[in-house]
Amino acid sequence: MRDVAIVSFAQSNAAREDRNEVEILLPVVKAAVADSKLERSEIGFTCSGSSDFLQGQPFAFVMALDGVGAWPPIKESHVEMDGAWALYEAWVKIQTGEVDSALVYAFGKTSSGDLAEVQALQLDPYCATQLWPDADSIAGIQARLYLERSGRSERDLAEVAARSLRDAQSNPHAVAKGDFDAAKLLAEPYRSTPLRDHDCPANSDGATAMVVVAGERAKALCDRPVWIRGFDHRIDPPALGARDLTRAPSAEIAAGRAGVGDAAVDFAELSAPYTHQELILREALGLGDEVRVNPSGGTLCAHTMMSCGLNRIGDAARRLAEGDGDRAVAHASQGHCLQQNLVCVLEGE
């Protein structure tokens, strides 16, 4: 295996952007490339993650290249997945030896449409989408089952929200933040029982970019390279009735293959759009109560769909690069009810 390090990372999140995707993406890509200290022409591969359904515009990801710089022509690829999967593709490309570095980016404007409705299109078009189950309703079904199975309570969910919102106060990129008392949060009305507003993600618009570099070159580029030590992703069946929604078997397998349990974990960044999903993921990844989760506030506090998983990896890498811990776990998810999961183990030099 080739050692691959995250050498730079930039992001932007806002509750609503009036700029177009190119205008949002351009300064973020520029910042990540500048911070990498590589010339753009030195970067061997470019890979992105986005979804045209968010924009309601076909081939939107091709237009985004205007903000990335594809002249002279570059080697480029795209996944209709969170940018974390684009990072995975870039990592594999580097493993093949074909390239030594890559620019990875992702973007999403959730404010253009009704995100919970747009997400209904991920379901089986013949037998599920017709009913238009929005994402919050489906998450509610999962949360109800989870509370029933685990013996946890709505209070536990409110505690997750309160802690995340509190931690988000020190993250300039979080869009929801504040000092809230769990007991007070419980007095708020339900959105989709047993979930209240604070249990559901703060949707946001934004972009993320990251540069990854292999081996010795990475050491020369940054003071403390953050190495990708384990990387895996797995998927569960899409049909909601076909799996136990209270667990995330694909996350569990990905965590095992990425080696999460091989050594102590200082902190974790988990992409859980809903509060109960953080608890399901903690269990699937084998993270004990002593492991700090989502010091950034997490996806709950800035749900820039398609970017938020890559943000978890970037936020974890930045924290390690700053010397705040030596080993971290970052996670991304996609699909309803944590259907697809990616786990990345990071270590500071």
Partner: protein, 165 residues
Amino acid sequence: MSELPTPLKSIVTPVRLEYDHSAGAAATGFLRGLKQKKILGARTGPGEPVLVPPRGADPRTSELAAELVEVSDKGTVVTYSVVRVPSENIPFELPYVCVTVLLDGANLGFFHVLQNCPLDEVRIGMRVQAHWLPDDELQENLASIQYFEPIDEPDVPFDRIKEYA
């Protein structure tokens, strides 16, 4: 072996999603210009290529192209094609000519439709001008330009436009 059932050929599953789209700074400037009977391009700075319509960045450098620049509604045909295939979305009678016009002052071809020109007279290098809707019907919409049409100016030699053809 049992027979497969008769396949179901279709079901009705209406899909409707509404988007509250924001055009972004560059396209907003361009579209507002059309309502004022102006064609606005954008560039990254003085002396840099003027891109029409603007999309936010100069795709060659990926620098922000935020400076709006008005270009002429006259230009030169750099390429064309005669269309003989119907499309529900096109209001023009067949056959019609689609053209790429290098507007005076622009550095990027502008796509539109040519009218009022016999098919055998269309040629690369010919001079054309936008035909606008009446002033009180102009909108923030590319349809404010109904079509391009020939004007009585001498052709531009190919050498001067080949970079854009």
